[in-house]
């Protein structure tokens, strides 16, 4: 995405709208062209519909008087004059003008959904509308009604103060509730996909939903395989190691948290090493309070081992006995 390009287009579009406020003086051709060299069909669309249509009607006529038009006149004309529109029957004319202003607004940024002022809203909408119109899905006859509907929707949205999320309908897009809901859904999905991209390493550089999804699937599968491998290793290490786990855990609880997990706050003031000797196991067990129901554990765990006499003294596991199990 080229932010400078888009902003350039936006400012151009803003300039064009400002200049085009003079409804009566329609000889905008030259200024428009000068300002929007390289602007696309979108540049045309950045004009409010009244000006756009009239521009098309009176094409190629030079003008100088529109320079005096004021900015403040923009808002009122937008709302009341579109009933008098007659769309040019010559669609070829449209396309010709479109072909002349091509290139500037190629990319579209993610449009904001907060309610904005009319002018900037037009500018942001135009880039999005550019993409949509480039897709070639809309016929010319539809565009008029949609633009009209969109203007009406805009005005009504501005008038009501509802406690909803204001989603500004974009130029050239249908404004019925279905598509609005769809758009909201799509934005939700995109937001969550961004989160996923941050989570999965190496996904930020990738563009395109399908490839990102590929990476996510691979990541999940690799994590699942790692779990399998680890549990296999644990199972095969030694049958006795399961018992040791319980003792190890009492002492390793803190060390695990501190040593192996990066970026976590130190919640327990325990020594850091993950790899311990049996003596230090023993020492730490004496120091730390037992969080585990070691009594229950020992009765079950050690019960089978006749050669070891532990009793209910869970806190003081003799280091030698621990060694023997290993």
């Amino acid at each position: 995405m080229d932010p400078t390009g888009v902003s350039g287009a936006r400012s151009n579009g803003g300039g064009a709208t400002r200049e085009a406020t003079g409804l009566e003086s329609l000889h905008l051709g030259d200024e428009f062209r000068q300002d929007n060299v390289g602007g696309g069909f979108t540049a045309l669309l950045e004009l409010p519909p009244t000006q756009a249509v009239k521009l098309l009607h009176f094409a190629d006529s030079p003008s100088s008087s529109s320079q005096a038009a004021t900015v403040t006149g923009i808002v009122p004309p937008l709302h009341h004059s579109y009933e008098t529109l007659t769309f040019p029957s010559n669609s070829a004319l449209l396309m010709e003008r479109a072909a002349r202003f091509s290139g500037e607004t190629t990319t579209s940024s993610v449009p904001s959904t907060s309610s904005v002022k009319t002018e900037p809203a037009d500018e942001t909408n135009s880039s999005q509308a550019a993409v949509n119109n480039r897709s070639g899905k809309r016929k010319d006859s539809d565009k008029k009604t949609e633009i009209l509907k969109k203007k009406k929707n805009k005005s009504s949205e501005e008038n009501e103060k509802l406690p909803y999320v204001h989603v500004r309908a974009r130029r050239g897009q249908a404004t019925d509730s279905h598509s609005l809901a769809e758009r909201a859904r799509r934005e939700k999905i995109n937001a969550r996909m961004k989160l996923l991209q941050e989570l999965v390493p190496g996904c930020d550089k990738i563009q395109g939903t399908a490839l990102v999804l590929d990476e996510i699937i691979n990541h999940v599968q690799s994590l699942q395989r790692q779990v399998e491998m680890l549990s296999m290793r644990l199972a095969s290490v030694n049958p006795r190691i399961d018992f040791n786990l319980d003792t190890i855990l009492g002492s390793e609880n803190g060390s695990l948290m501190d040593g192996s997990f990066s970026g976590t706050a130190m919640q327990v003031v325990w020594p850091h090493q993950v790899i311990e000797t049996e003596q230090s196991y023993h020492q730490r067990q004496l120091q730390q309070p037992q969080q585990w129901p070691f009594d229950v554990l020992n009765q079950r765990a050690w019960g089978r081992e006749e050669d070891q006499v532990h009793g209910n003294d869970s806190a003081n596991l003799h280091p030698n006995q621990v060694k023997m199990e290993l």
Partner: protein, 180 residues
């Protein structure tokens, strides 16, 4: 969001509880049996961290269900069996050949432009990938919309990460202890 230390500790505790419950049957069993028990308790522990709020956790607990480990799962998860039951999405069984043929006819009738074709292919690809994601994430078939799917995937990845971290440190410590 990366796994936090509290998550690690909780997972550890629950995993240990589960392993203790398996203790009598673990003793003389083969390596594969032990591995199965370890993995099962690890999975149930991971799922129970979410306490049934997420779809994947419920589906995972249900998947690991067999008659003998019913108690284990119950005690570990603390969730009643009734809440675990997910609503299965109705699967429309279609004869594949017929569907393919009708799709071809539809495509022929539509007037295509280059952009539409590309967009349609991209959509197909994305659909295939989301289906793949549903296959990987437990309970993916029950997630009705893509938003939910991605949310669940996020949560699932984080939980998997904690599981892997904790298991890895335990295994490393155990193997290091053995070598001495």
């Amino acid at each position: 969001m990366q796994p936090t230390s509290t998550m690690n500790e909780e997972f550890l505790k629950k995993w240990q509880m589960g392993l203790q419950m398996f203790r009598p049957s673990i003793d003389n069993a083969s390596v594969s049996e032990r591995k199965r028990a370890i993995k099962l308790s690890a999975d149930v522990a991971m799922a129970s961290l979410r306490k049934g709020t997420t779809c994947w956790s419920r589906a995972l607990i249900q998947k690991t269900a067999t008659e003998d480990n019913f108690l284990v799962r119950q005690m570990l998860s603390g969730i009643k069996e009734e809440t675990l039951i997910n609503k299965k999405l109705p699967k429309v069984m279609c004869h594949r050949k017929i569907v393919r043929r009708s799709k071809k006819i539809l495509m022929r009738r539509k007037s295509r432009s280059a952009m539409e074709e590309v967009a349609a292919k991209a959509k197909k690809l994305v659909k295939r990938k989301t289906q793949g994601l549903r296959n990987v994430v437990p309970g993916g078939e029950f997630m009705s919309n893509n938003v939910l799917l991605i949310q669940e995937t996020l949560d699932y990845i984080v939980s998997l990460q904690t599981q892997v971290n904790v298991m890895r440190s335990i295994v490393d410590a155990a193997e290091a202890g053995i070598e001495r």
